[in-house]
């Protein structure tokens, strides 16, 4: 087959920015079809509800680009929230530091196990999912105790804001920009791509493979904990039943955003687009009114399947081109 650079480029752009294009298309369709869709209020509510998933998804993007997976983030999200609400009785600092330290420690442990023993990330973080859920239940009287946020400054962190957007939205935006710089403009970011693209090759070229992996899981743990902290501030309580199965939503958003689960490719822009896309789909389904959240799951599942099939076909086109 003759090389056609034009076609190759098109498929590459589609793979990297497909989610963004579909997002734009959906927003336009939604604005035309529903009067109440393109309002500032609705946009704000999509942004606010997406921001927690987005923070976790940023960490997950690093993990997946490095060729791994982190199933523990849903549990860490809940654990972080419960710890934050519990810690808020001792003031703002403890409410922030306690959950971040605990979730960072779990991420660090998982990273060390994965990098030093060569155990599969899927298994290590599956154990993390169960173990952290156990820890969360242990500190919350088997999930029966819901700690309430006692610190007003801490609650403002989740509920206050400007321009109709709460602080978590701005924190998410800042983190996204920082993550983009980290991934694209620093040696660490390049190492993450190298480890995910070809681990043996990276090791031979002197990339610190083990250290890169440890940092990636540490970061994912910290970000999942932070999302939990902000969510606890938003709800003024450490709810013990939220966030179950959240890891799968996050992975879906990252994959929809064009990051390949095989590692070595992907980016933050796509991930943010993927998270927003799932948020907009949910919002659109809410607009239709008589459709339930179950219907949204059907659409999300179909969409995910469509995206991965498209990615495969585009990947094939690139290799042929």
């Amino acid at each position: 087959m003759t090389a056609s650079p034009g076609r190759e480029q098109v498929s590459r752009v589609l793979q990297q920015h497909g989610a963004l294009m579909v997002l734009a298309a959906l927003v336009i369709v939604g604005s035309v079809a529903f009067d109440s869709f393109a309002t500032a209020g609705n946009a704000a509510s999509v942004l606010v509800s997406s921001s927690f998933t987005a923070i976790i998804a940023i960490g997950m993007t690093f993990v997946i680009i490095s060729g791994g997976i982190d199933l523990s983030v849903g549990s860490l999200f809940v654990f972080g929230g419960v710890l934050a609400a519990y810690g808020s009785q001792y003031g703002l600092f403890v409410a922030l530091a306690l959950p971040l330290a605990a979730c960072g420690l779990v991420g660090l442990l998982q990273g060390l196990l994965i990098a030093r023993t060569g155990m599969a990330p899927f298994i290590v973080t599956l154990a993390g999912l169960l173990g952290v859920r156990g820890l969360m239940l242990a500190i919350s009287n088997e999930g029966a105790t819901t700690y309430l946020v006692k610190d007003a400054a801490f609650a403002r962190l989740g509920q206050g804001g400007v321009f109709g957007l709460t602080w978590p939205v701005f924190i998410t935006a800042l983190l996204a920009v920082a993550a983009m710089v980290l991934l694209q403009r620093t040696a660490f970011g390049q190492n993450v791509y190298a480890v995910g693209g070809n681990e043996q090759g990276a090791a031979l070229m002197g990339v610190p493979v083990a250290r890169t992996k440890v940092y990636v899981y540490l970061m994912s743990g910290l970000l999942a904990g932070l999302a939990g902290v902000l969510n606890a501030a938003r709800l003024s309580s450490g709810v013990t039943i939220l966030g179950i199965g959240l890891e799968l939503d996050v992975i879906a958003a990252v994959v929809i955003g064009g990051t390949l689960l095989t590692g070595g490719a992907g980016g933050i822009t796509g991930t943010i687009a993927g998270v927003l896309l799932l948020g907009v789909i949910q919002s659109l389904i809410n607009q239709v009114g008589n459709l339930t959240s179950a219907f949204q799951q059907v659409v999300s599942g179909l969409f995910l399947a469509l995206v991965v099939v498209a990615q495969r076909l585009l990947g094939r086109a690139q290799r042929l081109g």
Binding site: A127, L130, G134, I251, A294, G301, A305, V308, R312
Partner: protein, 316 residues
């Protein structure tokens, strides 16, 4: 590789890898016989076995999928779809409803298998899409819990064959069938070969895609059957919560049983032992008044220990 005389430490490790899960079940049983009151009651054994049976059935399919280097996250959602379909078609009788549920499981398995085998999507994403979508579909079909009074279906869930619950008998028979399938049939050999080295299997002319597809179909049908049996035992169809997180229990059972996630090896009986070990463990902790949180932490430690042990095999 020639089998050299192994140093004693390595021999102990190799033994632990091979029979560790049996030993662990034995130790837990002994502990319970000695320290748990009423543990040897027949009623207690029945309860434990009936509870573990659906997990065992799902784990059998999961072991097959993991043997091909894949993973099937959709099993819990397929169970809920089966529960929904049973509720919808129970009007035609229990057996037609069972048949429709199994066909539903086969269709879901075909979708996942086709994505994996023919499109080349990674198993974890393909079945993740099904996990999300299929439970949604089940909830759309049957939005809330539906109780039923069909005597055949209730009998399937609660009757016994000479003292052994029917559900347990079904799980045991399926275990033997699966062990036979893996060890003694061409298909079983092909599954293991594909998991061990897919490229070589393709080059030597094995029908790789067809076998992969069939593996996911089998996993789907087994999950659907587990869903019907669990529904029959509940005497109610509950697509919202039936089978939630069972994929984690099944993967745990397979992994604790010593089947490596890297494929190429399937240990059917050890998988069942893995499921029994986890069930026995949580029962033991509950009987000794330790809370749910402890169970999950101990489970996490056991998963890590089991995988750490099997990891050594891969590097040898």
């Amino acid at each position: 590789m020639a089998e050299a005389v192994a140093p004693p430490g390595r021999r102990v490790l190799a033994w632990a890898q091979e029979y560790g899960v049996y030993a662990a079940v034995g130790v837990l049983l002994l502990f319970n016989v000695l320290f748990t009151p009423h543990f040897l009651d027949v009623a207690n054994f029945r309860t434990q076995l009936v509870q573990v049976a659906p997990i065992v059935i799902v784990s059998l399919g999961m072991a097959l999928v993991i043997g091909t280097q894949g993973i099937d996250l959709s099993v819990g959602s397929v169970m809920s779809l089966a529960a929904a379909l049973v509720a919808l078609y129970l009007g035609y009788g229990a057996w037609p409803a069972l048949l429709v549920a199994l066909v539903g499981g086969a269709v879901a398995g075909t979708a996942g298998g086709a994505l994996v085998a023919y499109v080349g999507v990674q198993p974890i994403v393909a079945t993740l899409a099904l996990l999300v979508g299929v439970r949604g579909l089940a909830n759309v079909l049957v939005p809330q819990l539906v109780e039923f009074r069909n005597p055949d279906l209730i009998a399937l869930g609660s009757s016994s064959l000479s003292g052994v619950p029917v559900i347990v008998v079904i799980a045991a028979v399926l275990t033997l069938l699966m062990a036979f399938l893996v060890r003694r049939t061409t298909f079983g050999r092909q599954v293991v070969a594909i998991g061990g080295n897919r490229a070589a299997s393709e080059l030597s002319g094995l029908p790789v895609r067809r076998v992969l597809l069939l593996v996911y179909v089998i996993s789907g049908v087994l999950a659907a059957l587990a869903g019907v049996l669990a529904t029959a035992r509940l005497q109610a169809s509950d697509p919202t919560s039936l089978g939630l997180f069972i994929e984690l229990s099944a993967i745990t059972a397979v992994v604790v049983g010593g089947t490596p996630l890297s494929g190429g090896r399937i240990r059917v009986l050890s998988t069942v032992m893995g499921a029994l070990l986890m069930q026995l463990l949580s029962a033991t902790l509950i009987k000794h008044n330790l809370p749910q949180s402890w169970t999950q932490i101990v489970q996490a430690v056991i998963i890590l220990a089991a995988v750490y042990a099997t990891r050594e095999r891969g590097t040898r």
